[in-house]
Amino acid sequence: MLHLDFVEQVKLLDRFNNKTTTGTLYLTATHLIFVESNVPGAHEIWILHHHIASVEKLSLTTSGCPLLIQCRNFRVVHFVVPRERDCHDVYSSLLRLLRPVSYDELYAFSYNPKQNEQQREVGWQLIDLTAEFERLGLPCDQWQLSDVNRDYKVCETYPRDLYVPITASKPIIVGSSKFRSKGRFPVLTYFYQEKKAAVCRCSQPLSGFSARCLEDEHMLQAISKANHNSRFVYVMDTRPKLNALANRAAGKGYENEDNYSNIRFQFVGIENIHVMRASLQKLLEVVGTRSLSVNDYLLGLESSGWLRHIKAIVDAAIFLTKAVTVEGASVLVHCSDGWDRTAQVCALGALLMDPYYRTLKGFMVLIEKEWISFGHKFADRCDQLDGDPREVSPVFTQFLDCVWQLMEQFPQAFEFSEWFLIQLHEHVHSCQFGNFLGNSQRQREELQLKDRTYSLWAHLLSEQHNYLNPVYSPSFAERHPVLEPSTQPWNFKFWRNMYHQFDRTMHPRQSILKHTLTLKESNSKLEDTAHTLQAKLQTLGVSTSPLELHSWSREHRLPPRPQSLILGAPLSRKEAQQEEEVLGEEALEDAPDGNGGERTVEGSSATENGYGELQSSFSSKNEPAMVSLEFGVARMTC
């Protein structure tokens, strides 16, 4: 199918300085690989075809034919292929490869991590939503599990198991679902046990200018009655009022307060998927500019509106949280179809309310529940198959961005670090695991994903030590079960580590996160060693009094890290791992653990490779008379 396997003498241009690297470009069935030539410890870039958002052939230059590749994980690579013909071959092969038309072509169906059937099955059972609702105290005297959607008959984009008020009978449910866009009637998604207040979600009512539905009104009434703490239920329409008004003309719209007793209606003003798509595009354009000035950066940040949108989502989540935890009121959240903004706000709100979701496993549960099971259209939004470009939108990315903003404000509240978020983002687009494939649970079942693909959660849990936040404090969660973030605008920042994750020159050259994680691991490793040795000695009957082990043992110890991992940033680890998959064992030696396993950041470690990496990233010229610098092109006068 491919015209070629590899092209030699390809130049890779750095998009922020004049650095070029020469190497060989390989095209495999799953990856585009660039290997730097003639360098010991050569730099490699692995690009999954699914990650490629666009390939552009630029006009021919003297040095060759430029190929610009933009990836969904924000990698931008600029190759120059010496021969136009080769370039065209790569280009057309890529075009074919990166537009899969059927699910079977996705990487997940060929990916094989060398696990047996049983391991695969166990992997899929790690996250269990029934257990999650049990944890929330459900079912209870006011909320029951309904089997109305067992066969996806009432709503095909909802999961099978749904929790509804006990007073909501089947006719009410069915009636309500007919009055809601895509049949997405109000169901419970989070239960705040302390106040018996529920967070429910649905889609917009088909109210038009005057239509009513008694069953739907009863449904809201039932939700209200299920909570004795409050006499009313909040209805949060997460759209801007104008959008909701416009929807009325199409026979949709929002709840009329006159028709629904005991509701308090509220618009929140989060923009739609098209605005968000354009916003991120604009943002990436701005930050991708070479020699960007500080003023243009700030102006671009403002005009892209990205941080404004992020703040709007966080503001909405705070509103939701306050209504539930402070007022003890139940809240019904919806937008248009109830799978984008609604998912963002419900998930973020739950994260603020419940410390469990701030743990590694809890966060997986949260995503499984609010995003995967309730039918966020991952396939459409992430462009998994060649589809309608107007359906693509960074809704989930935005959610991760919001979580990161919270992590910045509460460094000790989350068990996981930003690497975990970045890794999640990576795999939402990689199509390497089955979890995010398709648009709904029903579709996933039809694709038999649990039998044919592997679960990302198992993979992430197996290497969770890489995603831990070293300063996470469970006692912080006890003191602050509900997070109250500040919404001052300066708390919302551009997430450089996400949007520039592959632009090495832009990052802090040393990482606090990495360093503390290493320290903490090496501390616990020393303890472990001590304990093991002591235990061994004891079995041999030797006294170990001088060690005083108890004096430094700590409660929360990290699991010992598997030897097979490269100690590095997610980037290199990921690449290493892919390397492992494709090339087999030979590619990876066990990383020598040395001094307590020091991690090396790209171009950062002062101890190991020093700033050699950094130096080379500066375009140091050989001609002594000229100064041509990262710090700007020096201009000679007189």
């Binding site: 940040l301 832009m506 040393q510 020393l526 001590a530 130096q615 710090f631 007189c638």
Partner: protein
């Protein structure tokens, strides 16, 4: 208390004052005005709050009074509500401090309020240096006989043996007669005698002739600084100045002059008698222009930024546009990239560099000191950084007295204020963000310095030059801040737990995406940063735990370090296995 001070104090004590601090519930207590401080004590038996505010740190004061009995301005308000137990009149004083904190005092009694306000106004702006608090600050644990200052050009010279064959110490300025703003001794090329120096000095603005400020050990290149040459409109030249610069480099070498003005500014400066080094007369020097803002522009930038940070509106776009409009981060960017350029000339290209702008007392020092932080591992230690500040700012004649007279809140007409030193601290903070392991000191030290540069218990930042300090006997009559900070019990508060020395240069990224607003300084009093503090504590704990494993234990029955004891046990294990 001397007569002069008490003249200013008409009301020394007021009871039932309500203090409103940012992020705290209001407190009720007694307010007391002394010669140098404002003291507020909460009226509570136990655990009561006390505030001791140095009057010098007051940047601006706003007062408003209302006499409710005479002029019922709020007819709708019930009398019982507004005047419980008070005489009927009251006032409010809002104090805006130079460290950007804002306090509000509600004072019962209009007269008391006005008296207190006028005392604060008078006592916070005393003109005479010797009346300032450092001349009265006498803590028990410090003695005036202790050494003042950390370093001197003599010490720097004595410690750098490799300087000796080419550079010498000159005392040409021993009476401050050649350059009023230089210290008594400076380091200059051996080949240039004092007479030549004096002539070169007369060709430079304010007599600030080129002197050495940094020697790069790895290749022997140097950084020098000066003020602009006074070439004037008719392109005057000065052989001695040319000789001086030529003597700094070899015949075959080439040096760079980094002019912190734009080429256009440098041209225009000639009209005012200033100018630049012409290529025709300084053959071996290449001039590069890097425009750094200074003076009023910087001061206004700071004012705008602080104003933006105090904006209560929650609007994202408005914030970003105000942040952009303040241009503060652009100034940080210029400072870091120009310093990076200097460092790159020295380290990568192997050339000596002369830095100057106009007077050579502001942007010049900013650039030379940042370049040293990038290049020199010694200046990144706690002591080394303080020494750097002492050499490059205090002794080098940065006019602290004028530049730091007011910070961002004052409505007083701007005269010579300029936050060049704050900009240095900010740029240093950015370096610390990008290299969290490379600096031995933490953000806390930078915040402390930002505070003390504007108002201090110590004499370090008083005056504008060594000459002034000598004339006023600052060193004899005040304590030295740097010495104080280096005391063991103080030092602990300011060190960076993650510090790991590196010999390499730390090249900062100057992409706008890599620069951040220094929230620790600019939003210090606006945002509740407890979560950050706790996280920092946790990092400390992890690091200490780590250090514990490296340090020999003080235990009575074993002096083995944990590593040693592991090794011991492991050896024992080996033996046992053998058995």
């Amino acid at each position: 208390m001397t007569m002069e001070f008490s003249e200013h104090i008409k009301t020394a004590n007021v009871d039932d004052v309500v203090l409103k601090l940012p992020l705290r519930p209001a407190l009720k207590g007694t307010l007391c005005v002394t010669a140098h401080h404002l003291v507020f004590s909460e009226r509570k038996e136990e655990g009561s709050y006390q505030l001791l505010l140095l009057l010098r740190s007051v940047d601006a004061i706003e007062k408003s009074v209302e006499n409710l009995l005479g002029y019922p301005q709020y007819p709708s308000a019930g009398p019982g509500q507004r005047m419980t137990g008070l005489s009927g009149s009251s006032g409010t004083i809002v104090i805006k401090c130079k460290d950007l904190r804002i306090l509000q005092f509600d004072i019962p009694g209009m007269e008391e309020c006005l008296n207190v306000a006028s005392s604060i106004e008078a006592l916070s702006s005393l003109e005479s240096v010797t009346e300032l608090y450092p001349f009265f600050h006498r803590p028990r644990e410090l003695s005036l006989s202790e050494p003042w200052g950390l370093s001197s050009p003599q010490q720097q010279y004595a410690q750098t043996e490799r300087l000796w064959d080419r550079w010498r110490l000159s005392k040409v300025n021993r009476n401050f007669s050649v350059c009023m703003s230089y210290p008594r001794t400076v380091i200059v090329p051996c080949a240039i005698d004092d007479i030549t120096l004096a002539k070169a000095a007369s060709f430079r603005q304010g007599g600030r002739f080129p002197v050495l400020c940094y020697y790069h050990r790895s290749n022997g290149m140097v950084i020098m600084r000066s003020s602009q040459p006074m070439t004037g409109a008719n392109r005057k030249r000065c052989r001695e100045d040319e000789l001086l610069l030529q003597a700094a480099i070899d015949e075959s070498e080439m040096g760079y002059i980094i002019d912190t003005r734009s080429a256009q500014q440098a041209q225009q400066a000639r009209m005012a008698g200033g100018g630049f080094e012409s290529k025709a007369f300084y053959h071996h020097w290449r001039r590069l222009h890097r425009h750094l803002e200074r003076g009023k522009v910087l001061q206004e930038s700071l004012i705008k930024l602080v104003e933006a940070c105090g904006d209560p509106s929650q609007n994202m776009d408005r914030w970003l546009s105000k942040l952009e409009n303040s241009k503060w981060l652009s100034h940080v960017h210029s400072a870091l990239s120009t310093a990076g350029l200097v460092a790159e000339c020295v380290e990568r290209d192997g050339h000596s560099v002369l830095v100057h702008g106009f007077e050579g007392t502001d942007t010049t020092l900013l650039v030379t000191s940042l370049a040293q932080l990038i290049l020199d591992p010694a200046s990144r230690t706690f002591r080394g950084f303080l020494q750097l500040l002492e050499r490059e700012w205090v002794q080098a004649g940065h006019p602290f007295r004028q530049r730091c007279a007011h910070s961002a809140h004052s409505h007083a007409r701007l005269r010579q204020e300029c936050p060049a030193f704050l900009l240095l601290l900010d740029a240093t903070w950015q370096l610390g963000r990008q290299f969290p392991l490379a600096l031995e000191f933490s953000e806390v030290l930078l915040l402390r310095l930002a505070q003390d540069a504007y108002a201090s218990d110590y004499g370090t930042f008083l005056c504008s030059s060594e000459q002034e300090r000598c004339a006023l006997q600052v060193k004899e009559n005040t304590h030295c801040l740097f010495q104080f900070l280096l005391r063991r019990e103080e030092r602990e508060k300011y060190v960076n737990p993650l510090y790991e020395a590196t010999d390499l240069a730390i090249w900062p990224s100057v992409h706008p995406q890599s620069l951040q607003l220094w929230t620790g300084l600019f939003l210090r009093w606006t945002e509740y940063a407890q979560t950050m503090d706790e996280a920092r504590e946790e990092i400390w704990t992890i690091v200490k735990e780590r250090k514990e494993t490296d340090r020999p234990k003080g235990c009575a029955h074993t002096t083995l370090s944990r590593h040693d004891s592991f090794t011991n046990v492991e050896n024992l294990m080996d033996e046992l296995t053998v058995l």
